[in-house]
């Protein structure tokens, strides 16, 4: 299952026309302890780059942007009680939402793991 990354530090796993989105381990490290995750509405239509949800940490409240266009199909309800999952497992159990993939061509503009690591190293 290929994984892509954005410059705003989201990751997206793609499985056919379905995808899972979260923030990267680098992003959670920068934010510090996550205290609250405001998830999007189920079924919401997302455009590429739309501000979808908000992650609150002890340092800041940060927007999370949709890496691609599509509709929200599922939310990580566990985050309501355990926002710390985003700290402990940002790129697995700390996923934020699942969505459909409206245009697979949009993935071409995203980075792969190696490119993202190079990008982060330059920050």
């Amino acid at each position: 299952m290929p994984r892509y990354f954005t410059q705003d530090h989201e990751w997206i796993d793609v499985d056919g026309t379905a995808a899972t989105v979260g923030i990267t381990d680098y992003a959670q490290g920068q934010l510090g302890d996550i205290t609250f995750v405001e998830l999007p509405a189920a079924g919401a239509d997302l455009g590429k780059g739309d501000s979808v949800c908000v992650v609150d940490s002890v340092k800041a409240a940060s927007d999370v942007y949709s890496p691609v266009s599509g509709a929200v199909t599922d939310l990580n309800e566990a985050l309501a009680e355990q926002p710390e999952l985003v700290n402990s497992a940002a790129e697995s159990d700390g996923w934020l939402w699942k969505m459909t993939l409206a245009d697979a061509g949009e993935l071409d503009a995203l980075m792969d793991e190696a490119a993202y690591q190079t990008y982060v190293a330059g920050l």
Partner: protein, 517 residues
Amino acid sequence: MNELNPSGWRPSTGEIGTVDVPPTFTGNRALQLEEPLIFEIGSVDQCGVDLPDADDEVLPGLPLRAAPVDLPGLSEPEAVRHYTRLSRQNYAIDLGLFPLGSCTMKHNPRLNEKVARLPGFADVHPLQPQQTVQGALKAMNELAHWLITLTGMHGVAMTPKAGAHGELCGLLCIRAALEARGDLREVILVPESAHGTNPATAAFAGFRVENIPATAEGRVDLAALTARLGPDVAGVMITNPNTCGLFECDMKAISDAVHVAGGYVYCDGANFNAIVGRVRPGDLGVDAMHINLHKTFSTPHGGGGPGSGPVVLSEALAPFGPLPFSARQADGSVRLVEEENAAEEGHSQAFGRMCAFHGQMGMYTRALAYILSHGADGLRQVSGDAVLNANYVLRSLDDVLDAPFGAAGPCMHEALFSDDGFAEGFSTLDLAKGLIDEGFHPMTVYFPLVVHGAMLVEPTETESKAALDQFIGAMRSLAQRAKAGDPALKSAPHMAPRRRLDETLAARKPKLVWREA
């Protein structure tokens, strides 16, 4: 004497840290007193004052409470001691330097308080006949005149009750001006380094917010801003000097570009303290700017009620300013302009009002006392000394702390540092907590967001060189401990009424109501 403490000042703390001190019977630490919640000391069975029995006929027909409210009853000395003890666990500008960046925690002169307590100002009512409060109205009008003159603007809306309320007032003026010309633009541009209230205000006023990036020097990216301007942009909100403590050198070019594109310029005046008496925002093309009277003009922060955030307006926006306002008449008297007489004063396009009455009199009188006691030349010295003090802090610390924009030249009223270079595992939070042990309120931390691990220090003009040297000595000591990875710093504060609190747990699982265990 010690190089970290050049003034040689030392509190008489004896041998702290050299012996293990057992906890006291009371939980008190000398004069630092433990204090339970008021619900834990008061009893619902007793009452500190004698109240008459409730008389049903006093409130005929009203739904009277069937069960007692269970308020804790305390005697007068118990109540006084409870709140006095709590106040001693607090920190205040009257206790010491309060270096919160962007907040301008300057001394509140006692002369202001004396003036504000004069019965002709303190004991008047907003519904009193205007001929009986001419002195108060003239004071309001004189303050308005000073604010217009100091900012080089055309008009002022005095009624907003705080900075963010002023922002809302300014944006509603912009909206009214756009509606008046039938041009419903919906986007407000906000730089990354803006105060958090700016995008919140724009969204609240019904605009869509878009970010403008900063340059590597910490200023608004003029090219990026100009490129984004267009027929959908209602205006920009810019803080000048900005939250990195830097003057926006391109401000005039920004204003010109925004005006050519048909938009308006809102300036967040939170940092006016750095430029008062030297720069007039009106000359920079600003259309609206709020002034936090509790920052630049020394009224108390949270001083017994609402604050005051007057908004100065350009010629283009002034006709849309809210009602009521004071207007001087040909005979020298002052009257309030309300809906019924707005047309007579040539002000029939007001967008509405920001509050029921004419604003916060107690803040007006304090600000006017401050302005008149300083005079125009004194206010010019205020901004000069504020900038001098900030640069003294910046240059006294930039060899031990990373100063992200330090190489770009002098700062304005606040000095920005980061935790870059601290030992592994040490961050801004640790240094801030260490400052509590040193007897200072911590500086602003993790803001502005554009700097990682930011520490924003605003000394203000009211600190003496001796006070700054003491603070600088403490900061140098803490910076060296953070760089060396001193484990004691990681668990600071050690000497405060409470040790380091679990802020994450408090945010994740806040306890917002008291319940009996």
